[in-house]
């Protein structure tokens, strides 16, 4: 028999109602922060970035595909990875299904990675995804938006990710945390190469032919965007994780679903 506290419907409700109140407060707080994001000042993007896409060479403006807003998911897939990051692949499994709705609400969602286009295309095909995925191979885009770093920056401890220096587990160069090592192995690369790419989300707006950068978020800033975690947060055992438990969606059949 379960050791968890059980109760009658009335006892359950007595706990549920104050939780509901707290949940409503959190929802309103989230709305306030969304409002604050919308009020952020914009920074004009003057640099002429070039990307490789399914349709050929593209500018940042082209990535908007006729919409006025662009969300870029900085998908960790460095030039030397053998496969896209398995963890990024789980967030992509969520947004692949709803990108069509955003595209019909004036928001183009695109992934951008530093691997050459052919690698992105092959991996996207393997995963069965439909969202646009551009290659920033050879350009400054990923470096300018703080999701790719040079070996030199890494060696000298000069990586600034999530608006701070040396504040993230992926910044460790000696004692590599286990989840980093596991993820690196799943991407078919070593920890140092793996962690020179980072995940993030950047928002841009196109107004009168000019592109502005409006917002970027990294690290746990992505947490609320990670569908699987928001569902697990509602399950009795919560996230129920120690280390990396997930695989790519086509790799699970190697393991019993439990």
């Amino acid at each position: 028999m379960t050791k968890h506290k059980t109760g009658t419907r009335e006892e359950w409700l007595a706990a549920r109602l104050p939780l509901l109140k707290a949940e409503k407060e959190l929802t309103r707080r989230g709305d306030e922060l969304a409002q604050r994001r919308q009020e952020l000042p914009w920074v004009r993007v003057d640099k002429a970035y070039r990307f490789g896409t399914d349709e050929g060479s593209a500018s940042l403006t082209d990535l908007f595909r006729g919409r006025s807003q662009l969300l870029v998911y900085h998908f960790m897939f460095g030039p030397d990875y053998k496969a896209g990051c398995a963890t990024c692949s789980t967030i992509a499994d969520g947004f692949d299904g709803f990108a069509v709705h955003l595209a019909n609400h004036d928001v183009m969602l695109s992934a951008v990675s530093r691997a050459p286009l052919a690698k992105l295309q092959a991996y996207k095909k393997r995963m069965g995804w439909k969202f646009p995925w551009a290659s920033a191979h050879g350009g400054d885009f990923n470096f300018d938006f703080n999701v790719s770093f040079t070996e030199e920056q890494q060696r000298e401890g000069r990586i600034e990710y999530n608006y701070e220096r040396g504040g993230h587990a992926m910044d460790a160069t000696t004692q590599v945390p286990e989840p980093v090592a596991v993820n690196a192995a799943m991407a078919g690369t070593d920890a140092a190469t793996y962690t020179r790419e980072r995940p993030g989300m950047s928002a841009f707006v196109l107004e009168d032919g000019v592109v502005y950068h409006t917002y970027s978020t990294y690290a746990r800033g992505l947490d609320g965007l990670w569908g699987m975690y928001q569902w697990l947060d509602r399950a009795p055992k919560g996230r129920n994780e120690e280390g990396v438990w997930w695989l790519r969606h086509d790799e699970y059949d190697k393991r019993k679903a439990r």
Binding site: T2, L19, T90
Partner: protein, 236 residues
């Protein structure tokens, strides 16, 4: 729109202030998850029967060998030709991630009052793979406060944990109900949420909360007026 245009340094200053507030929100969200996990569980004594592709199923069967079950109350009434457009939006969100939840001991399934044949046809049209059962002929939807009779809707009903007057034709509502099964096979109801309680599991809205126009639904008669089923948008 037409926000102030500034240098990167000035933007960064505003961004860092917002970042501090965002981190606080993330921690508050974590705290609520812990509170949810600490909720008492309510024993489910009643037996419910569902209709699945392989025949009749008990609530215990819906766990599909796992100990946790999340049911999405998908609005699809007995006489409806199609599933609800908004619920279809939510399903487009979770269809791709149900497999990951399976590997954390969670089965995610949908349940609706429509007959199974109609559910099956709609699921096929949408190209979804999550399990979806029919609760036609069972009290399940009514007991978990997502379906109401025409007679009940004449008066205030208990919905989203309060007595409220719902529109008299609004007989189906969306929500999430969560269940746990212990090693003896006893089933417990752990959690349910409705209305904006299901907001966080719609990733698209969380993404829209990052862009300059936000959810951008103010100009409509109802918030999701812009929304279509994914096969109903014009190609752009």
């Amino acid at each position: 729109m037409g926000n102030q245009v500034v240098s990167h340094e000035a933007w960064l200053k505003a961004r860092l202030e917002l970042l501090a507030a965002e981190k606080e929100l993330t921690r508050q969200r974590d705290a609520l998850t812990r509170r949810r996990m600490a909720m008492p569980w309510e024993r489910v004594a009643k037996s419910y029967q569902f209709d699945g592709p392989k025949g009749a199923l008990a609530l215990a069967d819906l766990f599909d060998g796992r100990s946790q079950l999340i049911l999405y109350h998908f609005m699809f009434g007995p006489d409806w030709e199609e599933g609800c457009t908004s619920c279809s939006f939510w399903a487009d969100n979770f269809n791709g991630i149900a497999i990951h939840l399976n590997h954390r001991d969670v089965t995610l399934a949908a349940v609706s009052r429509a007959p199974l044949a109609r559910i099956g046809a709609y699921k096929k049209r949408m190209g979804w793979s999550f399990p979806w059962v029919s609760s036609a002929g069972s009290d399940f939807n009514r007991d978990y406060s997502v379906s109401f009779t025409a007679e009940e809707l004449q008066k205030p009903v208990f919905f989203n944990y309060e007595m409220r007057k719902l529109p008299s034709d609004a007989d189906e509502w969306p929500g999430i109900s969560v269940f746990c099964k212990d090693e003896t096979g006893a089933i417990f109801h752990t959690y349910s949420c409705y209305l904006r309680g299901i907001d966080m599991v719609n990733g698209a809205y969380q993404f829209l909360d990052l862009v300059p126009k936000g959810r951008d639904e103010d100009g409509f008669d109802f918030s999701m007026e812009w929304l279509r089923r994914h096969d109903e948008y014009d190609e752009r």
